[in-house]
Symmetry: C2
Subunit: 390 residues, 2 copies
């Protein structure tokens, strides 16, 4: 075989920021010490700064789904009427969690690739009385679609309902004005734009959400927002924290602060725009009707299983891209842009895609998609002084 | 700034093989223990297998120049008549070492970018009597030129002289039949095709070279081939070994064995061929008359300082490529292919080069050089089953 570097090009886990990986080596410390409390406090403060919110930000040793669970089990009660926007695998996860806790879920169901609009939620809020919460994805990872989160805030914020946003692949790929837009709970995960391995979930909690906490009657133990907040203020976690991941998060957050969160978002958006331009240039069809910048989902050419493209990326280039999930498996493939991705990654991935399509009988003019990426970059980029690692 | 990954694209240090880097973490062991002796023995045995020689292979805590020094100070005596082939910065290094040890060096000097031919060495051997050694580079890193090492072996082997080959960037980028071609000393370094950081040098020593060791009268201490051989046989090094680097070397050698050394050579040659094709497609001029596969040196377009291209790679793409060395600084730039480089790296580097040339006023049709790389890859490659990391 030729040399094939391992290249993680999936929407999570994402490529690791090397200094964050190296920081994990310093995890020979005890979590109930002043040293670690400082590390933890600093990570929480930096996370809050990067999320640009005045709301409380809490951290859990869990994957993103853990924080989704926490948002339901800590803020609602059995039988509560909620609206769940579902247009993909992660929308379905909200439905499952709501069901597991016995909420009375009104599901606004859309096809994979589509989104639920703020107007549809407004309409439902007008029709239904006593809605306690609205659940959605900022970015539906399974389809690459981005919801209009600002519009949702405008609709939900004045109502009595909480707006709960799974922003696991939304954070770092789209603007999210948590306070200004009235986003009550915004959920993130470590293995996304935060450039570190999986194992940490986090969420912001608004004052309005804290009021719901007081009246929630659902049972919960591990995930307890108030307990976590109280401990977090002292630089502690309620249970044993994932120390190596906290160290990694600290290093990654310093880098994200250096880059600037708005610029990290622009970076993902540039790469997504370039990928869409390349896809169009190659005559392929984008899957999402309202594509976001975390991941670009593309329909495989007619007669070609998208699994072939995924497999070829792996076999030829050691690159892991994502297949469709659920019913879209075999139909679409997904190339990610969130976190530690740069334009040179896109040069390589689009060139690789061209080679793969060509080898599988789809007519491709070599370099044509790459040229679209180059043109977009050339328009967008101004040569900048190089940072240490940036 | 946008995200810019650090990409080491120089002919040494080269990109690190991640598991080798991780293996360095296990260096909390003492070097005078059975555990470490096993690590050391295994690295030496694997190195010998990868170099495909029956000659002794020795390892030094030193950079490549250390093994060059050892070859002179251990095998020759002051006043010995030797032929030094010099066609670049590393040829000049042989001249300097020969001078430092008082050898009587006949320098076959060529311009940067050229090579000395076996015929010229043969001619000199006919003209001069009592020549004790011939020194050359397999690959002259400063110019990207490859010497005809097999031809040199044919000429020198039947003579009384030793053939001393600096193969620091030759190993892993060109076939080197050490036994069959009569290469008496072949020198390598860790930070080249061996995919690990700098700090280890190694060399093979032929039976003919060991005879020279017996009569050499030059003073030396740290670098002692015989002492190192005796200790190496016991799994020891003469002095404190660079344990972390030995651990890294062991991991890298396992990977190189998995890939296969001939395939690693083909990999570099494919990438070099693809780079040359792209360079021609972009209307640029190759620098070396007999280009090798370790690094491709390219003349900057007329009126453009090659330092601008190097700087732009760094500023725009976080990528470190090499400028010219010595008198060629500002004239040429060098893109490497040795070790842990793959075709996707070349997609990215050529796309980046096109953007940089375009931004600096050189007419470029985006994607044209990349297409040349893609065509060459498509011809060469057969989709292969993916190995663990390979």
């Amino acid at each position: 075989m030729y040399i094939k570097k391992q290249r993680l090009l999936t929407p999570g886990p994402t490529p690791l920021y090397p200094p964050a990986l190296h920081a994990m080596m310093a995890s020979d410390l005890h979590h109930r010490t002043e040293d670690f409390r400082n590390v933890y406090k600093s990570a929480l403060a930096d996370l809050k700064e990067v999320m640009a919110t005045t709301h409380d930000v809490l951290l859990f040793a869990a994957s993103g789904t853990g924080a989704m669970d926490a948002a339901v089990s800590n803020l609602f009660s059995a039988g509560d009427k909620v609206i769940v926007c579902s247009a993909g695998k992660f929308g379905e996860r909200w439905v499952e969690i709501a069901k597991a806790y016995g909420l009375n879920a009104i599901v606004l169901q859309k096809e994979y690739g589509d989104v639920v609009s703020p107007d549809e939620v407004a309409e439902t809020l007008r029709r239904e009385s006593g809605v306690k919460g609205v659940f959605l994805q900022a970015s539906e990872t399974s389809t690459g679609a981005a919801f209009d989160v600002e519009g949702m805030g405008r609709v939900v914020s004045p109502s009595g309902a909480l707006l709960i946003v799974d922003a696991i692949t939304g954070l770092g790929t789209m603007p999210l004005e948590i306070d200004e837009w009235g986003l009550d709970v915004v959920i993130g995960g470590s293995q996304k734009a935060f450039m570190i391995p999986p194992g940490l979930a986090f969420c912001s909690v608004s004052p309005k959400a804290w009021k719901f906490y007081e009246t929630s009657t659902l049972p919960h133990f591990y995930f307890d927002l108030k307990k976590e907040k109280k401990n977090g203020d002292k630089g502690e976690s309620s249970w044993t924290p994932a120390t190596s991941l906290i160290l990694a998060l600290g290093a990654a957050l310093k880098y994200i602060q250096q880059v600037g969160m708005p610029r990290l978002v622009e970076n993902a958006q540039l790469l997504a725009r370039a990928t869409r331009a390349a896809v169009r240039e190659l005559g392929l069809e984008l899957f999402a009707r309202r594509p976001g910048a975390s991941v670009t989902a593309v329909r495989a050419p007619a007669g070609m299983d998208s699994g072939v493209i995924v497999k070829e990326f792996r076999n030829r280039f050691g690159a892991i891209i994502a297949n469709g999930q659920g019913t879209m498996k075999g139909q679409i493939f997904r190339m990610a842009h969130l976190g530690y991705f740069d334009i040179a990654d896109m040069f390589a991935i689009i060139a690789g895609l061209e080679v793969i399509l060509h080898a599988n009988g789809y007519p491709v003019e070599f370099g044509r998609g790459v040229a679209a990426v180059q043109r977009l970059y050339a328009e967008a980029a101004v040569a900048e002084p190089a940072g240490a690692r940036a």
